[in-house]
Amino acid sequence: MHILFDSEVTADPSLLARCWQGEETFALVPEKSGGSNDWIADKLNCLPDEHRRSRFVLLTSGSTGEPKLIVGLRERSEALVRALHELQQSEPAAETIVTLPLTYSYAFVNQWLWATVFKRRLVVTHGFRQPDLLRASLQQARDAMLCLVGIQVPLLDQNFSNEAFPGVLRVHFAGGRFPHEQLHAIRRLFPNARIFNNYGCAEAMPRLTLRPAEDAQEAANIGRPLPGIELNTSDTGELLFRSPYRAVGVVDRCGFMEITPDMWIGTGDLGSAVGDGTWRLTGRANEVFKRYGEKISLPLLLSTVLRNWSGQAAFYREMDAKGEEGHALMLTPHPSETQVRTILKAFAAEFGRAHWPLRLESVSEMPLLPNGKVNVAALAKITDKSLHWYQR
């Protein structure tokens, strides 16, 4: 089985096209992943014979940081791309500008595969690693579709604060919390774009729901399931799905696990039905916990932070001195004393002290995973950080 690395396909996307057209199953993985090349090769050897043809394999680390390989069926993903094209009204889009690694299922399916199936132009950038190249691509955009993650919005604002990119027609968000609080900035940057909140996970390969930004007034609303997709919740509140577009299997440290049509698959998120056909997320399964008997929801706390802070923000969890579960807040860039007070006062106004962070810290640059999400596991290990406030 052929293993493609993201730098190879970024340099020459036609490599990916050749693998897609070939019969043999191939893997597309980032250079810096949670698994070594030997680990990936070893795990690919776990694939049953029937999955060694017409499949593709992506690597995901998820928020837990434990790598796993997701095995997709090419014809299913092409069918999903066609469904998304209709639902997202993508026909007017002539090109797509890639700002995320193509190894990320979101960029791979929504952008590379869409461009391949519908014969649209694929513009590969290096995202904010090369902001000038990204700016040039956005300035030259002609009827472009853009796929972003929420954490890129402060970077857009910082790098292109006085600019607008009228050639972008569609802006999609996925891979984390929808940046509802920054919609005004997004609309200023992309005045002609329709904005969508996409939700899914790697096992869904990757899309489950879709919502035009204007259809809800809160970040947590993920919209309606795509036709054919069913959502449900487990006894513990975890959002589950069944999808005709799902991955066919997962390979993790335990080996290969087939995903069958009748299986309800966990998303790792907590969620609930709203009642109007839409669904809302209430947190990651590992982002809601008890502290001094109170239910702490980190996504809810993050909403409060982002109403009062235009930079990046993330929580990481740790025990406090009394052995109670707690959480610390990390900001980027470094805040002023007034900004720190504003955020803390907002916590005080909206929540009891059990919800307040143990510390408010900042770093000059947020550690990110290859897919653009915050590397939460790395936050706790950062030594070069500023401490602005702590709970005694």
Partner: protein, 81 residues
């Protein structure tokens, strides 16, 4: 820094008060953030700042800033202007 200023700085930080709204005659009822966990944070802060560890009974009996000052003064910590 004088002990009065140290105490003000501590309580402003623990209870997230604006420096301008702080008064040395403030009562617990006037400070919404002076909840039960706030009492614990305040007691830890007093220990860190003044070296005296409130007993749980002392901490819970405190009804305002004057009580803190009175209690600490009995331990030899002066708040004379």
């Amino acid at each position: 820094m004088h002990n009065r200023e140290k105490l003000k700085s501590l309580l402003v930080d623990v209870f997230l008060l604006e420096p301008a709204e702080f008064r040395f005659d403030m009562t617990r009822e006037e400070v919404p953030t002076w909840d039960s966990l706030g009492v614990v944070s305040m007691a830890v802060g007093i220990h860190q700042t003044f070296g005296y560890h409130f007993t749980p009974e002392e901490a819970l009996a405190i009804q305002g800033v004057p009580d803190i000052m009175k209690l600490l003064e009995t331990k030899g910590i002066s708040f004379d202007a």
